[in-house]
């Protein structure tokens, strides 16, 4: 009789860091403007009059508490939450709060997807998007290096920027394309080197043109989706990255996947 009962191995599972960069600027605290004479159109899951930040908080809790994840995502994906307004803060899982990155313990920033208990986000201040992206790039590189040093199979980190506004400088002035160029160049270079993939998602009010400066091939405007649907799209897309795809391939895949979802949604509505 064998000493061994046939079964799977231990602990050599592939990991994939996913960084969610969430806009918590003041505009996220304002309900969508209601055009005169008719009620504001709200995507499903975002009740009229509800500030986007509340809808985002509800969606985060529901998504991470719920059964929205597959065994593959639960085993592989580890999430880091980065909130940006006038400051850039990261979610320290051990302290259960958002803290400036220099105060965070590096081993508590990435949390397995089914262990994430997101904090309650509050909206205030400016939109320091470039600072958030620069911080996230460094966190992604650092996590990737750490996992490689631990000889853990690891996929490229995926960074998702979710915003409803336009990047502002430290004084609250809107940034112009020239001011975004340095960050955009570092994003592009990192993607070409296979260090990470960055995708931007604009919701109602987002400045599409400026987002396209930051990530020319990687901007989705998802004004008609609820935050829960956006999180679905985001994690399902992260799941579809394979190591042999370039960043451009992945951006095209995400766009096509979203278009397909949209077509399916319209078809379902048509026949409802």
């Amino acid at each position: 009789m064998s000493l061994y009962e046939f079964g799977p191995a231990e602990g050599y599972h592939e990991r994939q860091p996913v960084l969610l960069l969430l806009d918590t600027s003041a505009s996220m605290g304002r309900p969508a403007e209601q055009p005169p004479g008719r009620p504001a159109e709200q995507p499903p899951g975002r009740p009229a009059g509800q500030p986007p930040i509340d809808a985002l908080n509800d969606a985060l809790v529901r998504w991470f508490d719920g059964e929205r994840t597959t065994p593959r995502l639960r085993a592989r994906v580890e999430v880091c939450l980065v909130a940006f307004d006038s400051r850039v803060r990261v979610f320290d899982h051990g302290r259960n709060e958002l803290v400036p990155v220099e105060e965070a313990a590096s081993d508590r920033l990435f949390v397995p997807v089914d262990g994430m208990r997101p904090p309650r986000l509050e909206a205030s201040g400016l939109t320091r998007l470039t600072d958030a992206v620069e911080t996230a790039l460094e966190l992604a590189r650092s996590r990737y290096r750490t996992l490689q040093e631990q000889h853990v199979p690891v996929r490229r980190p995926f960074l998702w920027v979710l915003t409803d506004g336009a990047p502002s400088d430290a004084h609250g002035n809107p940034m112009d394309p020239a001011a975004l160029a340095g960050t955009a160049r570092r994003v592009r270079l990192g993607e070409e080197r296979g260090e990470f993939v960055l995708q931007a998602v604009g919701v109602r009010g987002a400045d599409l043109e400026l987002l396209q400066v930051l990530a020319p091939k990687a901007v989705l405007m998802l004004e008609d989706l609820s935050f829960g649907q956006i999180l679905d799209l985001l994690f399902q897309s992260s799941d579809r990255i394979t190591p042999d795809r370039t960043a451009d391939d992945i951006h095209r895949d995400v766009r096509q996947y979203n278009e397909k979802r949209e077509r399916m949604r319209r078809l379902e509505e048509k026949h409802r």
Binding site: M1, F6, P8, A9, E10, L147, D239, R240, T242
Partner: protein, 288 residues
């Protein structure tokens, strides 16, 4: 020898509407067995076809002229190296013929060969003639050998004293053909430039050989332990799981070679953690 294998469509492929792009094939020659597994490149449209061409080519090429079990080591190593080169040539020839026949290659027969990249696949093959095993590999598939020594005198004497059944020496597994290093360069495919120069070939002489297992790279998480699970530092690299490899061999010996338990594991919740296709093929010595 018991030969058993299974290939299962990865859950990531299932979610994306893609079929299984792995393939496996074995040729049982009586006192020798040729095993081959192949992994079609996920991003190439016709790579599943390429994987099937690869295992077919491996089983045909490596079934020819296998050295005798009593031949010298250099005879085996030379044969394995030549076999690797012939495998690449055979694959490229077959791929070119398929592309021409199906409109994938426009040039006439005397023109340059069509690009076989559309059929990109990695492959690992093993020729088992105990106590020898010859390995030939292009890309990141991996392989282990199993060994099982005779019963040690100590436990047998103890068994005689206690009247309990004598204990046989535990079967062990050895990762002789490791998978790609995490974070390393991407895999070499049979269709990659200079593939013939990038073939890995080697032979193992193991008088206590009890089995050989090949697997595609999707199986790493399912069949390899992290070194920390054995109290080893990370740089020790992955350790073949005895639970997986030795458990598989014992299961196949017990059920007469039915691969259903293997298929069930590859289709189960633990395997769903990876999205990749999963293929395992093995030859287990059955004591005859």
């Amino acid at each position: 020898m018991i030969v058993a294998g299974a290939a299962v469509q990865g859950t990531g492929h299932l979610a994306a509407g893609r079929g299984c792009q792995d393939a496996f094939k074995a040729a049982d020659l009586g006192d020798a067995v040729v095993l081959a597994v192949a992994d079609g490149a996920g991003s190439r449209e016709r790579s599943a076809l390429g994987a099937h061409i690869a295992v077919d080519a491996a089983c045909r090429v490596l079934a020819e002229g296998i050295p005798d079990a009593r031949d010298a080591p250099e005879t085996w190593t030379r044969w394995a190296a030549a076999g690797g080169a012939r495998l690449v040539a055979e694959y490229l020839g077959a791929a070119a013929a398929v592309l021409r026949a199906t409109g994938g290659g426009q040039p006439p027969s005397d023109g340059p060969a069509p690009d076989a990249g559309a059929l990109a696949a990695t492959v690992a093959a093993a020729v088992v003639r105990p106590p020898w095993v010859a390995f030939v590999s292009v890309g990141d598939c991996f392989g282990t050998v199993l060994t099982q020594g005779a019963a040690r005198p100590g436990p047998a004497m103890e068994a005689a004293r206690t009247g309990l059944a004598p204990e046989t020496a535990a079967e062990r597994c050895h990762l002789v053909l490791p998978p790609a290093v995490p974070g390393g360069p991407g895999p070499v495919f049979l269709s990659s430039p200079g593939a013939a120069l990038r073939v890995r070939s080697f032979v193992v002489w193991e008088p206590e050989l009890s089995g050989v297992v090949l697997a595609t790279d999707g199986c790493t998480a399912l069949s390899l332990d992290h070194p920390a699970a054995h109290g080893l530092p990370p740089e020790a690299g992955p350790v073949p799981s005895e639970r997986f490899f030795c458990g598989l061999a014992a299961t196949l010996r017990a059920n007469g070679g039915d691969a259903e338990p293997l298929r069930a594991l590859l289709s189960g919740p633990e395997a769903a953690r990876t999205g990749d296709d999963l293929t395992v093929l093995c030859a287990v010595l059955d004591g005859r």
